[in-house]
């Protein structure tokens, strides 16, 4: 559904996206992750024809965005929540987009109801909260009833209720066969939502896997409890293993439980608890995007 091939985007003094290639399959929710400044927004903007690539290309349904015959009916995009004229009402904003795309004006009221903004439709966008603007962005994306949604940090500014609404909405959209490509830095939210993730760092691809595979690979911490926790901590650190005390008599050790158990046995240190904690998307993300130690 989305193909990004050898995409590079350079600004005057910086390379935001560096020979990036990946594809997003149809009918799935794909998360797009990376630290701030990794090049996520730039990649999405090139994909949507808002920024011009230095080299390479990005296509949607086999075409560049500007080549799509009916762009809003193919792709719905949620970008920054600040892209509004403050003196225009939410309804007028959608009417303008509907007119430009040849979408019947009746659809405007439908999408406003869908995002629960009907009551504020005639108010000026300048008076909207950030959350309301995000909902308006989602309404704009839905105008053309597209089969693909591209969202850049859609949870920004949403309260917990709004985030839950967005999660349910995206799941329902994907459940109806739609494709979702969503960038986010809220990893906990993404692990609940996405089927797979594309992770980039410094403009380069570092992982493209299913969430399940990725968390399986992540090094989960090992929780160990011992009456001689301080001795064990010293022994672990002497062995080059990263560990820190968490509560009285308990350590979090960044090594597999087998190695911790063996080392404790060699030193004759008794253990009362040895638990392998499951890796998370957050841990996988941090491992993949960690800066090398000087």
């Amino acid at each position: 559904m989305i193909e990004v091939e050898h995409l590079t985007k350079r600004f005057r003094h910086a390379t935001a996206v560096d020979d990036l290639s990946f594809s997003v399959p149809r009918g799935r929710i794909t998360g797009f992750l990376g630290p701030n400044g990794a090049g996520k927004t730039t990649t999405l903007r090139v994909l949507l024809g808002l920024a011009l690539p230095t080299s390479g290309h990005a296509t949607l349904a086999g075409r560049r965005y500007r080549e799509l015959a009916a762009p809003l009916r193919t792709v719905g995009a949620v970008l920054e929540a600040s892209n509004y004229h403050p003196a225009r009402s939410g309804r007028s904003h959608l009417r303008v987009l509907a007119a430009a795309a040849g979408i019947p004006q009746a659809r405007v009221d439908q999408v406003l109801a869908e995002v629960e903004l009907s009551g504020a439709a005639k108010r000026k966008v300048g008076g909207y909260s950030l959350g309301m603007r995000q909902r308006l962005s989602v309404a704009a994306a839905l105008l053309g009833e597209p089969e693909l949604l591209v969202l850049d940090e859609p949870a920004n500014g949403l309260d917990p209720e709004g985030i839950r609404w967005l999660r349910n909405f995206l799941r329902s959209f994907a459940g109806r066969g739609g494709t979702v490509f969503v960038s986010s830095h809220v990893l906990g939210e993404m692990s609940q939502l996405a089927d797979e993730v594309v992770i980039i760092h410094r403009g380069k691809l570092v992982a493209h896997q299913s969430v399940a595979e990725l968390t399986l690979q992540a090094t989960g911490a090992t929780r160990v409890r011992s009456p001689r926790a301080e001795d064990l901590l010293a022994r672990l650190r002497a062995g080059g293993i990263d560990a820190e005390p968490t509560e009285a008599g308990t350590l979090a050790v960044h090594a597999p439980p087998e190695r911790v158990g063996d080392l404790a046995a060699e030193a004759g240190i008794p253990l009362h608890e040895l638990v392998a904690e499951k890796g998370s998307l957050e841990e996988a993300f941090l491992e993949l995007t960690a800066e090398p130690q000087p």
């Binding site: 927004t41 949507l48 024809g49 808002l50 500007r66 892209n83 509004y84 004229h85 430009a100």
Partner: protein, 248 residues
Amino acid sequence: MNALRAELLKAVTTRLLLWFGLGLLAFLLLVLSIHIGSHDLLSLSQRSTQRSTLAFGGLAAIVAVLIGSLLVTAEYAHGTINQSLLAVPVREKLLTAKLAAAVLVVFAIAVLADAATLLIAEVWYHGRGVNLHLGSDTLAPFLGAVGGSMIAAGIGVGVGALLRRQTGAIIAILLWLLIGEGVISAAGDSARFAPGHALGAVVAAHEVGARDMLGVWAAVVVGLLYAAIFCTAGFLVVLNSDAPTSGD
């Protein structure tokens, strides 16, 4: 047509046109009152004075160049250019729709300015007991005001696309009209080819030119050339640049 409809809708869903329209009407009332009130009755009855009075509707051309630029720069100032490009990703199509919308909007404003000029002049002349002669010679500036404003809108769209910064574009236009055109007048006869002078000549609508003013048709050609040059340069800049973002 969809893109043009959307651009017209954008223009009427904010108060930009309302404020410009009201401002123009107030300014016309002020300058016409000063102009007519300061002439003696003999002077007011002369055709040349009446023609110059009715040419005040040409002030719409100044508003036109500002509206033309704002229809482009407001999109950049508020970031709505992103949404516009998502709906109409072919940039030359979007800009052409903006140009057409600016010309149509300004046509309506110039007709309104002409009507207001006629109404205010009629009231003043009637009040001072002088007949306002309405014939082809005195009414020619009305057509000039409409034509000059439409060309000015084209120049405004080009300047807006070229600069893309709202405040910068407004300051550049006003500085040029208030200072640049005055400075260039010192250059002698060639000053009549400057954009402001050419638009002034379109509004004045004299068949035959003078040392400091082109004839109307020559002025139309020069004005259209300026519009074409600014639009071509502006469109090339927009086509080859990224839409603005505050993202990462």
